[in-house]
């Protein structure tokens, strides 16, 4: 009889074993092009053929065809597969990229979104023939309202930033319906960069309110900025330092007192799921990043989903159409009476919405609360492990993320936040967010999420602590084990060459 000696489990989220066959430069898809090569062709179609000139009026025809790449299916698949092997991803290992909530998405959600009954339905299908889809969207909206403490919801915005703009347009419509033309939106100095960008896009002026020594909105400074010209305030709670805005009730009261509205940036909603709700804090408008809080693929430019939920007084301004349930239990599309109009085609990125809904159903209310509890516990545990190694400018109980700093390490041995991030890649983890929020010098913004095991968290902490003991200068050489080493970000930004032929021309000159 043999016995197995119990040992600690290996960390599942450390990716140092990721295989690579070589470090050669991977050509762009255009460099594989060979004239006349095709990925797919119909052997026979039986259909008549037309030329472009027969189908398109001459005025709309290009004089020359577009220079598309011509590659075989075999080469295309090999190229894309090699590229995927060069990527770090949530599926590969831990991804503590602060503010981005890079949590693992269960494969169950992929499965739900690929059901033919969902994926094969055209969005123009009459409502009577797509009752299942309408019920799904209505139920998702209902769940999101319950999670946020709001009254009604639009699922159209295709991303968080689109949700922000939608929220600001709702604010404008609300004030204008009351005959008011307000011009200013207040934003904390720790805010996400999308907030002031959305404010500008929405035609408002940004007024910045500073953070106090606790890292929270300075209430007195906020009061000094409030007047009848303020349309509203945009807040993340917890904020980008991972701290809960304890004075939120007083903030809400002060903003409402001057007739302003409160906008909740849902970027950090993962931290409070099932524990507290923006609606209960006094917010009027909420956007949710379904990819952060629930389960939609991250990055790559979409398709994403950034639904916006509002309190009762704003419900009739929502973009339409929205799914509505009739008294007989059937569903129909309805456009709110004072709708600001569409913010996206059809009903948003519907399969991303289906994916998020499957996540909500699979977790249930109690499971969603455990998501938040796990996220907060993991982030606090990691902060405690790093105390004494990294500076912790706001060393108090945090929510789902925290901000450390290399100010002392930089002064003592020239180690910058960027170097720590690059060294962490060599240790098999994605880097944290660096140099954000802007109010912290040499910031490392770390969000481990609820999906990493204690073993992975321990390995991540060990790696960060080991890096802090590096010989001076070692960080500047990293990363040395990745397919691409340290890139010249400054040159890439100064000399913007967005296409492969522009790069070739630049290199030749």
């Amino acid at each position: 009889m043999s016995s197995v000696t119990p040992t600690a489990a290996a960390p599942g989220g450390r990716a140092t074993s990721a295989p690579l066959l070589g470090r050669d430069h991977e050509p762009t898809i255009f460099e594989f092009s060979s004239e006349g090569r095709r990925s797919f062709s119909f052997r026979t179609t039986g259909l008549p053929e037309w030329t472009a000139e027969e189908l398109v009026p001459a005025g709309y025809l290009r004089p020359e065809p577009v220079a598309l790449t011509e590659v075989s299916e075999r080469d295309l698949v090999a190229h894309v597969t090699r590229l995927t092997h060069r990527q770090y991803s949530v599926d590969l290992g831990a991804y503590p990229l602060g503010s981005c909530t890079m949590k693992y998405n269960p494969k169950l959600c992929d499965d739900a979104a690929s059901l033919p009954g969902l994926a094969a339905v055209h969005p123009a299908t009459p409502a009577a023939l797509a009752q299942g889809w309408l019920e799904l969207l209505w139920s998702l909206g209902d769940s999101l309202c319950e999670v946020t403490g709001m009254h009604a919801c639009t699922l159209q915005p295709p991303a968080g930033a689109a949700g922000e703009l939608t929220g600001l347009l709702l604010m404008r419509a609300w004030h204008e319906s009351r005959g008011e033309r307000r011009t200013k939106i207040i934003i904390p100095d720790s805010a996400h960069g999308t907030n002031p960008a959305s404010v500008t896009l929405g035609g408002y002026q940004t007024v910045t309110v500073p953070s106090d020594e606790r890292g929270l909105v300075d209430l007195e400074a906020l009061r000094a900025r409030l007047d009848s010209d303020v349309a509203g305030i945009m807040l993340t709670n917890p904020n980008t330092l991972g701290l809960f805005e304890e004075d939120i009730a007083a903030i809400a009261e002060a903003v409402h007192e001057v007739g302003g509205l409160l906008y909740y940036d849902g970027a950090n909603l993962n931290a409070i799921l099932g524990v507290t709700r923006p609606g209960d804090m006094g917010f009027d408008i909420v956007h949710m990043n379904l990819h952060k809080t629930f389960a939609v693929p991250h990055g790559g430019g979409g398709p994403g989903a950034g639904p916006v939920a509002v309190s009762e007084r704003l419900a009739e301004f929502l973009p339409g159409p929205v799914p509505a349930r009739g008294d007989d239990g059937t569903f129909a599309w309805r456009t709110p009476s004072r709708s600001i109009g569409r913010v996206h085609t059809w009903y948003g990125n519907a399969l991303a919405l289906a994916r998020a809904y499957s996540y909500i159903l699979a977790n249930g209310g109690d499971g969603l609360r455990r998501v938040a509890e796990g996220a907060v516990l993991n982030a606090n545990w990691l902060r405690h492990r790093l105390r004494g190694t990294y500076d912790l400018p706001y060393d108090r109980p945090n929510m789902h993320e925290f901000v450390a700093s290399t100010t002392t390490l930089k002064k003592d041995r020239g180690m910058r936040a960027l170097d720590v991030g690059k060294r962490l890649l060599e240790k098999g983890f994605h880097a944290p967010t660096v140099y954000f929020p802007l109010i912290v010098d040499e910031a490392l913004m770390i969000e481990p999420t609820e999906t990493e095991s204690p073993e992975t968290l321990g390995a991540l902490a060990d790696a960060l602590i080991a890096i802090a003991g590096d010989e001076p200068g070692e960080g500047a050489a990293a990363p040395r084990t990745t397919p691409v080493g340290r890139v010249d970000e400054a040159l890439a930004a100064r000399v913007l060459l967005p296409t492969w032929d522009a790069v070739a021309a630049h290199d030749a000159s």
């Binding site: 960069g193 660096v434 140099y435 802007l438 400054a490 930004a493």
Partner: protein, 127 residues
Amino acid sequence: MNVPDDLNYTSDHEWARSEEGGGLRVGITDYAQDALGDIVFVQLPEPGAKVSAGDSFAEVESTKSVSDIFAPVSGTVTEINQDLTDAPQRLNEDPYGEGWLCVIVPDTDGAEPELLDADGYRKLIES
């Protein structure tokens, strides 16, 4: 950190040099360029633009962040450093020379600007 004795400074890390003809040449300090890191883009006002002391009138983008630049005085922009469009790195390489941002002619009726001297600015960045 290089803090030339013959310049005036703001607490927001801009410098100002009095020119013949009454204009003020304005830029960001060595401390500011070091803190910002590699600068990749500079947005300047149009010549002729009116600026107000303490208000943002330009933007500097580095690989880390985008920062507002605040006017040290109220006045009119008479000249801008066009070279920065193609060579924003001048701000890193030579913040007090080729990396200047613009020339502002102060309003004659404006209040005397409250600027720091070199010693005052050194104390500020060392604190």
